[in-house]
Amino acid sequence: MYHHDHCEGFQCEQQQLEATLAHSGGELGALDRLIAWFRQRSLFVLAYGTGCGAIEMRPLMTSRFDAERFGIIGAATPRQADVLVISGYLAIKTLKRVIRSYEQMQEPKYVIGLGSCTINGGMYWDSYNTIKQLDHYLPVDMYVNGCMPRPEALIEGFVALQKQIANGAPSGAMRYRENIDWYKANQRRVLGDNMPPDYTYDWYHAGDVA
C-alpha cells in the first residue's frame, strides 16, 4: 500500500483512509446528498487545546494556512460546533471536560484526534495521568498522526473528514449512541466517581450503568 510515487509519509495513511471511504453512501437520496454536501462544506470547529497540538491548530486560521477556504472556522461554544479537535495527549482531568463538551455538541458531530497521543498515548504511553487511546472514551472520526503533525497534515485530515461526510458516512455520534454502555464503562474506569453528570446524554435510558 505504500507507494512513494503517489504520496509521502502521513499523506499515504490519509489516502488509505480516504480510499476506504470512497465506496460508502451511494444509496443516499438527492436531498440527503445535498445536505451532506452542505455539511461537509461548513465545519465549525471546537478546538480543544489539550496538549502540545494546540500550537499546530492555531496557524490553521491564519493567512498562511487559511482553513476558512474549506469552510472550516472556529466556534466559540460546543453548542455551535460540528467538529471537536482533540489536540494531543489528554489528561484525565481534561477528559471530563472533553466528554462534557462533546456531549453538549449537537448531532451530526465529529471528532478529530490530532497527534499520536490520541492514537496510542504517543510519548505519554506510560504516563500515570493521561489516557492512551482516545477511541475508548469518545468515538473518533478521523485521526491525524504524527508528533506533532504539521498544520498541513491537519488540513489533510479535515479534507478527508469532509469527503467522509460528503459520502454520507454516519458520524461517530451514532457509534457513541449504540455503544454508550461500553464508552461510559471505559470513562468510569478512568474517571471513577468524577464522571460528568448524566443529563448531557439524556437520550440514554439503559439504567444505572453510567
Partner: protein, 587 residues
C-alpha cells in the same frame, strides 16, 4: 357583603363619568361659588380613574376584610373625583387635600412603612399643597376670582410667578427631579397593591394639574415669554425638566435591586416623558402626552398588580431572591411581558403609539436636542425592562420559596388579564384611542384634533402607521415560521436539567452563581456619564445645598462682626445706594 359594597364604591368614578351631565354651581358664601363640571380634559382623567379604581380594589378584597382601608380608599376616590370635577381652585384644593391625606393614611397602614418614608411622603405632598395654595391665593389677589380660566392682561412677572408656583406644586406630585425623593420610598413601602394606585393614578393628578396650567393663559405657555423654534420658551424649560428627570430616573431604575423600587423609578421616568410632551404644547405633543398617560396608567396597574402577586406568593421582592418563575407563574409572566413591552414602547403595543406622537411632536417643534435626550432615556429603559422580566421569571430559582411558588390568586389574575387585553386591543387600534379618548380633549382645549381615518390607523401630518398591519404581519410570520420549523427535519429535545449549559466544559451546580438578576446593569457604571449619575444622589445634592447655604450664611455672618463701626458703615452705604438708585430711576 362589605366587600361587595366596597367594590361598588370603586365603580363610582365610572358612574360619575357616565351619568354626569351639566354643570353644578354651589354658592358657598358671599361672592364665592363652587363650580363643578366635567370638562373633556377632566373626563379623560376620570376615565383613567374609572378603569384603575376597580382593578386596584379587586386584589384588596382578598383575605379578611379590612374596613379602615376600604373607608380610606373610598375617601381617596371621592377626593380625586372632586379634584377632577372642580371648575375652580377651591374645589380643586379641597380634592387635592383629601387625596393627600387619605393616601397618607393608607400608606401608614403598610407594615413596611418607616418614619423616613412616611415623613418624606407627607412633607413633599404638603409642600405641593402649600405651593398650590400660594398659587391660587396669588391668582385671587390679581383677579379676584378662583375660577380656572384664561386671564387677560397679566404682567410678565405675574405670569412667571403663577407658572412657577403651580408648576412646582404639580411637579412635586409627578415626582420631577430633584423633588422626587418621596416617590421611590412611598411606592416601595406602600401596601403592594396600593402602589399600583399611587403610580398609575395619583401621579396622573399632577399631570392633570400641569395640563390645567396653560389654560390660565389665553395663548397657552407661549404667552409667558415668547417662543423658541416652534414651541413656547416656558415649555422648553418644562420639557428639559421632564427629560432630565426621565434620564436620571431611568439610570437609577437600572441600578435598583428591588422590583418595586425599580418600578417606582420607572414611573418617575415615564411621567417625565409626559411632562416633556406637555412642554411642547402642540396638538400632536398633547395627544402624545395623553396617550402616554393612558398607556402608563394601564401598564403600571398591570405591572404593580403582577409584582404584588409575585411578592404575595414568594415573599421576596429582590431580584437576587427570585428566578425561573416562568413555568410556575405563567400568567404573571405574560402580565409582566405585556407590561414591559408597553413600557419600552415597542411597536405592536400602544406604548409605541404614544412614543411616536411625542417624537413627532418634538420633531414638529424642531426641538431635536430634547428629542435626542428623550431617545436616550427611552432606549435605556430597555435595560430595566429586561431586568424586570429576567430577574423574577427567567434564569435560575434563587430561594426555596421561588422554587415552590404557585400562580397568584384570581383576585390578582383577573385585573391582569383584563389589562393585558386592553393593552393589546389599544395596540391594534391606536386610532380608536385617538378618536374616542384623545380628540375630544384636544377639541375641548381648542386645539386641532389629530383624527384617525380608521380605528387601526394612527395618522399624523408626518405619516402614521396601521396597527392591524403591524400586528397582522408579525403574527402571521410568527405562526408561519413556527409551523415551518416543526415541519422541518431534525429532532428537538428539551434539556433535562437546568444546569445543562455551555459553561466552558465545567459542570455548574446549585452552588454556582448562575442568576444574573442583581448584577445586571452594574457594568453600566463604567460608562462615564452613567457612572457620574449613579455616583451622585439627590440626598447628597440636598445636603450639599444645605452645606453651601450654611457656608454662605457663615460668610455673611462674618460681615456682622462685633465692631459697631462696620455696621454703621453698612447702614450708610446701603442708604447711599438706595438714594442713588431712587435718583437714577427718578422715583
Amino acid at each position: 357583603m362589605l366587600k361587595l359594597l366596597f367594590l361598588s364604591l370603586a365603580l363610582t368614578p365610572a358612574a360619575t363619568l357616565f351619568t354626569w351631565n351639566g354643570a353644578v354651581a354651589w354658592p358657598l358664601f358671599d361672592g364665592i361659588t363652587l363650580l363643578f363640571d366635567l370638562t373633556p380634559l377632566a373626563a379623560f382623567f376620570m376615565a383613567l380613574l374609572a378603569i384603575g379604581a376597580p382593578f386596584v380594589a379587586l386584589p384588596m378584597l382578598r383575605g379578611k376584610s379590612d374596613e379602615p382601608t376600604y373607608a380610606l380608599y373610598a375617601v381617596l376616590l371621592l377626593g380625586m373625583q372632586l379634584l377632577l370635577l372642580a371648575g375652580d381652585f377651591i374645589g380643586f384644593f379641597i380634592g387635592w387635600e383629601m387625596m393627600t391625606w387619605s393616601s397618607y393614611l393608607l400608606l401608614l397602614r403598610s407594615p413596611r412603612i418607616d418614619l423616613e418614608g412616611a415623613q418624606s411622603y407627607i412633607l413633599f405632598n404638603l409642600a405641593s399643597a402649600f405651593l398650590l395654595l400660594a398659587g391660587m391665593l396669588f391668582l385671587y389677589s390679581i383677579t379676584d376670582d378662583f375660577r380656572i380660566q384664561a386671564i387677560d392682561g397679566l404682567l410678565t412677572p405675574d405670569k412667571w410667578a403663577l407658572f412657577t408656583l403651580f408648576g412646582l406644586a404639580f411637579l412635586i406630585k409627578v415626582g420631577a427631579l430633584p423633588l422626587h425623593l418621596w416617590v421611590p420610598r412611598s411606592y416601595d413601602q406602600a401596601p403592594d397593591v396600593f402602589s399600583a394606585f399611587l403610580s398609575a393614578l395619583m401621579s396622573k393628578m399632577g399631570i392633570y394639574g400641569l395640563m390645567l396650567l396653560p389654560l390660565l393663559f389665553p395663548d397657552g405657555l407661549s404667552e409667558i415669554s415668547g417662543r423658541f423654534l416652534n414651541g413656547p420658551v416656558a415649555g422648553y424649560v418644562l420639557a428639559w425638566i421632564g427629560v432630565i428627570t426621565s434620564i436620571i430616573a431611568t439610570f437609577k431604575a437600572i441600578a435598583q435591586e428591588d422590583m418595586k423600587r425599580l418600578l417606582a423609578y420607572s414611573s418617575i421616568a415615564q411621567v417625565g416623558y409626559i411632562v416633556t410632551a406637555l412642554g411642547v404644547g402642540s396638538s400632536l405633543a398633547i395627544g402624545g402626552a395623553l396617550f402616554q398617560a393612558l398607556v402608563h396608567t394601564l401598564v403600571k396597574l398591570l405591572l404593580f398588580i403582577t409584582i404584588a402577586g409575585i411578592i404575595l406568593q414568594t415573599g421576596h421582592r429582590r431580584f437576587t431572591d427570585l428566578g425561573q418563575l416562568i413555568s410556575r407563574m405563567p400568567i404573571s409572566f405574560f402580565g409582566v411581558l405585556i407590561g414591559i413591552i408597553g413600557l419600552a414602547g415597542m411597536p405592536p403595543l400602544p406604548g409605541f403609539a404614544a412614543k411616536y406622537l411625542m417624537y413627532i411632536g418634538l420633531i414638529d417643534a424642531h426641538w431635536l436636542l430634547l428629542l435626542a435626550a428623550l431617545i436616550l432615556s427611552s432606549t435605556a429603559s430597555f435595560v430595566y425592562c429586561y431586568k424586570l422580566i429576567y430577574g423574577p421569571f427567567l434564569g435560575h430559582a434563587n430561594s426555596p420559596e421561588a422554587k415552590i411558588a404557585t400562580e397568584a390568586p384570581w383576585h390578582y389574575l383577573v385585573p391582569q388579564i383584563l389589562l393585558m387585553g386592553m393593552l393589546v386591543a389599544l395596540g391594534i387600534f391606536p386610532g380608536w384611542a385617538i378618536e374616542v379618548l384623545i380628540d375630544p380633549v384636544l377639541i375641548g382645549l381648542g386645539m386641532t384634533p389629530i383624527g384617525a381615518p380608521a380605528w387601526s390607523v394612527l395618522a399624523t401630518s408626518y405619516g402614521g402607521y396601521d396597527g392591524i398591519a403591524v400586528m397582522g404581519v408579525f403574527a402571521t410570520i410568527f405562526v408561519l415560521i413556527t409551523a415551518l420549523f416543526f415541519l422541518g427535519r431534525g429532532r428537538m429535545h428539551r434539556a433535562t436539567s437546568s444546569y445543562d449549559l455551555s459553561f466552558c466544559g465545567e459542570v455548574p451546580t446549585a452552588a454556582t452563581p448562575l442568576h444574573y438578576g442583581a448584577g445586571m446593569g452594574r457594568e453600566l457604571r463604567r460608562v462615564p456619564l452613567i457612572g457620574w449619575i449613579l455616583r451622585h444622589t439627590t440626598i447628597n445634592f440636598y445636603s450639599g445645598l444645605m452645606h453651601q447655604t450654611q457656608a454662605t450664611a457663615g460668610m455673611i455672618g462674618t460681615l456682622y462682626g462685633s465692631n459697631p463701626q462696620v455696621w454703621i458703615l453698612f447702614a450708610v452705604l446701603i442708604f447711599a445706594l438706595t438714594l442713588t438708585v431712587q435718583m437714577l430711576t427718578g422715583a
